[in-house]
């Protein structure tokens, strides 16, 4: 069976209007053959998680430059858990100081890409992270 294309949500949570990075990365994912759903601006965490579930997404990429990253990542991950959708990978980028990254990782954020990251790095990370996730999920399905 042909492997399903990677489906990724590119999300802009909250009031931040900086969408240059989100749109660039969305295009880079699309050019790499993924199915990309871009949410547009001013999404609540509830809307983002709802979209991810409806679209049966493999991952949510969160773009945030307003400094409110901790709040939004925490809320998105909490909601995914509540909806039993915490197999969806959550990653992100934007103006996020390095010193905040460990905290975000401890919340369950899989990767944080800072300013200047080549889009190719994000694409190859997502390809391998989703492959690994799918492998693990298949593993769980095999009856022991």
């Amino acid at each position: 069976m042909k492997e399903r294309k990677i489906r990724v949500i590119v999300a802009k949570p909250g009031l931040d209007g900086h969408d240059r990075g989100a749109k660039v990365i969305a295009r880079a994912f699309r050019d790499a053959g993924m199915e990309v759903i871009y949410t547009g601006l001013r999404q609540t965490p509830e809307q983002i998680v709802e979209t991810a579930i409806q679209e049966d997404a493999d991952a949510i990429g969160v773009s945030i430059l307003s400094g409110a990253h901790e709040f939004y990542f925490a809320r998105i991950i909490e909601l995914l858990r509540q909806k039993k959708a915490d197999d969806v990978l959550v990653f992100g980028g934007g103006v996020i100081p390095d010193s905040d990254v460990p905290k975000l990782q401890s919340l369950g954020v899989s990767a944080v890409f800072g300013p200047g990251t080549p889009t190719g790095d994000c694409v190859s990370w997502l390809l391998s992270a989703v492959a690994k996730k799918r492998e693990e999920e298949q593993g769980e399905c095999i009856p022991s």
Binding site: L15, D16, H18, R20, T44, F71, T119, G120
Partner: protein
């Protein structure tokens, strides 16, 4: 040129071209083709051939004289430097007030207020959408009470203040007028700027609230009100800055900004206002990016093109209404998180380009802004950068030092020509509002932004420390500014207390008056908003009423 010297020029040019050819046989140039960031070809050398029949008076004119290519004042920086205006604001009004007083004590000559996102989008700090955002990218302002603290001990007749506020610009301007009243300063003594440029919010910046039509009405209401009551106020700052930050080229920045300007002039004329009057209070805001020569030329081209538009398209005869006066900010998108100290040098070059381009005011970015809001120390360096250009470099001693340079004049002509083509395309679509609705402008900017990203990734554009000359670095060196997470709670508490102490019956009456006036297009909303603000109605309450009447803008997602 005389016949004899023309002959000599031809001979020498031919000889030069031959010597280039022989040099190229053994030594290739570093690139096959050289272009500016906008893709304008850069020749090896510019000579009198490139500027052709150069008509000094038609192309350049004298400083302070149409078409203002060389500058808008007769003496430029010999009389007065540009305003050193650092964009600042974070956390609470108390903390931002402290930062402003620091900046003024360090020789800043004007203030520039950054509001947090809830304030920019018309939500009070206790609104659900404000969670996590209070005080983050700017200062949280809910009511006149916050604004009084923000400008505490700052005499509003001595400083000019620029406020980056768009959709709710009327409300924040009303608050500023009321703070002035409390300080005993009449509105006609206040000077400053509100950004008030909704079109670029739809295109690039994202802090819109209302749909285009009522948004344009709010803007023209401000034009009309201020020309009568706040005559020294710049009623709009038509901004290319954010369009460029979103990824446009320099040419697109000029074209889309001036197209926005055309849309505002048309809207105001339709509202019965005289462009000879309101045209004097239009101001502009540009980006200063990396490609130094292109940037210098860009400012000159924008000035000349706007003067022509005002004179030829709108029949404006008042010279002050033909002048493009502008603020500049160095390009935030060029700041790198890698080797952040290098950003000081980038900012210096960008600031120099803005000064050589004749800016009226300038914000220089701080080296740490790819990572967080700037610390006091890094802001200090950024401000000193301007002072060094102003007081040490000598570039301010003569006006438009690059005027007459073969390359600068060629680039100025070319940027004007290409921008005019874009403007024509937008005119043919039915103007800027139609072009935005079709997604044309957004698509142009996004395509340019993606191209740029690919060019960096393929090393066609060098970014020092990012795709070349990288080094291992200890990332924790920089001390970053942290906005206290409790700002939201403190702000909400203040808001509740304020609401308990105000006359709530009066507030409700004033809000009802706004609702009524909003439904009647012949009314000017400004006096009603001022009355409500004076009674301590909050920004969220006022914008809430306007949301009910006007509805909200829905983004046209273009990818």
């Amino acid at each position: 040129m005389e016949e004899k010297s023309r002959e000599e020029f031809r001979e020498k040019k031919t000889a030069y071209e031959k010597s280039v050819e022989s040099t190229l046989e053994n030594n290739h140039e570093m690139k096959d083709a050289f272009t500016t960031l906008s893709g304008i070809p850069m020749n090896r050398l510019y000579t009198p051939d490139d500027i052709g029949e150069f008509d000094y008076c038609r192309n350049l004119g004298f400083p302070g004289d149409y078409p203002f290519t060389r500058g808008v004042q007769p003496t430029m920086y010999r009389g007065k430097h540009w305003t050193m205006r650092m964009y600042a604001g974070f956390s609470t009004a108390e903390e931002s007030n402290r930062r402003y007083r620091y900046l003024l004590s360090q020789g800043s000559s004007g203030l520039s207020v950054a509001f947090d996102l809830p304030t920019q989008i018309g939500y009070d700090s206790d609104h659900a959408m404000a969670q996590g955002e209070c005080g983050k990218v700017g200062v949280a302002i809910d009511s006149l009470a916050d604004m009084e603290i923000l400008f505490g001990d700052i005499p509003l007749d001595k400083v000019s203040t620029s406020m980056t506020i768009n959709a709710p610009a009327s409300v924040l301007l009303a608050m500023y007028i009321c703070v002035g009243e409390k300080q005993g300063i009449a509105a006609n003594k206040l000077s400053g700027t509100i950004q008030n440029d909704i079109l670029k919010e739809y295109i690039a910046r994202g802090t819109y609230i209302f749909p285009p039509k009522p948004s344009m009405r709010l803007i023209t209401d401000i034009f009309a009100f201020c020309s009568r009551h706040v005559p020294k106020w710049n009623t709009i700052s038509i901004s290319g800055y954010h369009i460029r930050e979103a990824g446009s080229t320099a040419v697109q920045e000029v074209a889309f900004t001036l197209s926005d300007g055309i849309a505002y002039v048309e809207a105001a004329r339709k509202a019965g206002l005289d462009p000879n009057v309101f045209g004097r209070r239009l101001s502009f805001f540009f980006n200063s990016h990396n490609n130094f020569l292109e940037e210098v030329a860009k400012f000159r081209a924008a000035r000349r093109l706007w003067a022509k538009i005002m004179k030829e398209r709108f029949g404006v005869t008042d010279e002050r209404a033909q002048m493009l006066r502008f603020h500049t900010q160095t390009a935030g998108c060029t700041l790198t998180a890698q080797q952040p100290e290098n950003n000081i040098i980038r900012v210096t070059l960008q600031a120099l380009a803005a000064v050589l381009g004749g800016t009226q005011s300038l914000h220089t970015n701080s080296m740490d802004e790819a990572l967080a809001l700037p610390t006091e120390k890094s802001v200090g360096i950024a401000l000193k950068t301007q002072q060094i250009i102003a007081y040490e470099s000598g570039v301010t001693d003569t006006i438009d030092p690059f005027g007459g340079s073969y390359v600068i004049e060629t680039l100025t002509n070319e940027i004007e020509r290409q921008a005019s083509e874009y403007i024509r395309t937008i005119d043919e679509m039915g103007g800027m509002l139609a072009a935005i609705e079709k997604g044309y402008v957004q698509k142009q900017v996004q395509d340019a932004s993606y191209e740029y990203q690919l060019a960096v990734e393929k090393n066609r554009i060098t970014v020092v420390g990012v795709n070349q000359f990288q080094m291992e670095e200890e990332k924790k060196d920089l001390q970053l500014l942290r906005v206290d997470a409790s700002v939201g709670e403190r702000q909400i508490r203040k808001l509740r207390e304020m609401k308990e102490h105000r006359d709530n019956i009066l507030v409700n009456e004033n809000l009802a008056k706004i609702r009524k006036a909003a439904s009647d297009e012949t009314e000017n909303l400004m006096p009603y908003i001022i009355e409500a603000v004076r009674s301590y109605a909050t920004e969220g309450e006022i914008c809430g009423v306007l949301r009910e009447v006007f509805g909200e803008y829905k983004e046209n997602i273009i990818l």
